[in-house]
Symmetry: C2
Subunit: 223 residues, 2 copies
């Protein structure tokens, strides 16, 4: 636990909270670290979400299985980010599954238990709300971004939009993609083999180059 203290302290969720406050919060919310194996389900669709989760190591896919068995990856949650905050905030049943994409460590806080005891009014609670507010609004904007990605009409346009956005996030035209090919295809809602084909076409045309998960965008894509 102490191993992750600084990481936790510097995360968006606990931004601007003093050491003493933070220690109080971690105790009040019964903070603990839990490890999940790759593929293990953290939150299942239909469940109430009672905990706040923050990724310490590894990463988590937010998924939906369509009625016909096809998997949709709604989003990918990386270290220092939170899982299913919206469902906690809205006191809502989860609409999605959260699944560890590899071996993953999470910080878990018993949000509901603590906030119901102090009738939603203690100062610790209020500080968190402010930060959650910020995070939610940013998540909102990210979801809109993702909608733009998957709304492109062709595989080519989806890839170029996605890759441009990643380059922008990384502030560099060379960057690593966190997804493997199948997961990326499920994220962009396209067929994996068709995606691979289009990727190598883009490479042959000189628009991009890549080795494994390391991608490079050539200038004409970025302009």
């Amino acid at each position: 636990m102490d191993k992750y203290y600084n990481q936790v302290k510097n995360s968006s969720l606990f931004y601007g909270i003093s050491d003493e406050e933070l220690r109080g919060i971690l105790e009040c919310f019964r903070a603990r670290v839990r490890t999940y194996d790759s593929g293990e389900v953290i939150i299942r669709r239909g469940e109430r979400v009672l905990n706040l989760y923050m990724v310490l190591e590894g990463c988590v896919n937010i998924e939906k299985d369509s009625f016909w068995g096809r998997r949709i990856i709604v989003s990918r949650v990386n270290p220092n980010e939170n899982i299913a905050l919206a469902f906690v905030a809205a006191k809502n049943v989860s609409n999605v599954d959260a699944v560890a994409a590899k071996k993953t460590k999470l910080l878990v806080l018993s949000y509901e238990k603590c906030t119901s005891m102090c009738q939603n009014a203690c100062t610790r609670h209020r500080v968190l709300i402010n930060n959650m507010f910020e995070i939610l609004s940013k998540e909102n904007i990210e979801l809109i971004q993702k909608i733009e990605n998957v709304s492109q009409k062709s595989i080519r346009d989806k890839l170029l939009t996605y890759l441009s956005n990643e380059a922008q996030k990384n502030k560099s035209n060379v960057f690593e993609v966190g997804f493997n090919r199948q997961d990326l295809a499920d994220y962009l809602n396209i067929d994996r083999s068709a995606m691979c084909f289009e990727l190598s076409k883009l490479q042959k045309e000189g628009l991009i180059s890549y080795q494994k998960n390391k991608f490079m965008l050539n200038s004409r894509v970025i302009d």
Copy 2:
């Protein structure tokens, strides 16, 4: 303005706020009503969003134009709902255009001006934050829902998923769709004519029936 007072008072944004508080807020935030013609742009991509907006009458499309000129409708904002709250909350530049889908009246509040004057600390401001927090988390969940809609693999599945969700929202298998055909197609990211074709196929097969914008889902769809 007074004409809309009750509507405003009962909206999510002002939920649980007393009459005296509300009158204070409306004054402090320089509330005013503004009318937009169909097609008029309310917020333009790239602009800072400085106001809170609530739809009083009409409705608003949240749109993106793809680089290649194709229009994407990210979401539709109906009466009593708010526009681009996430961008206000995140103090961010807008990522989208907001466009009146028909003649529309909006309540406009100068959010930035008021909150900067009172250094983000007055009580009126804090009450609003709490409500905005609730609204943002629900919007988040809605966006995830929308991602599920557009992530279906076929036009048929997109339509069935969308229509089932609408039926659920309306708590009835008979309901009106707010979109016209072109807008619905832009919302689901499909070609309008192909969508019309699939709709009439679904009707011939007896899964749905419709006249103009009034739809009915037959029981086998809902099961």
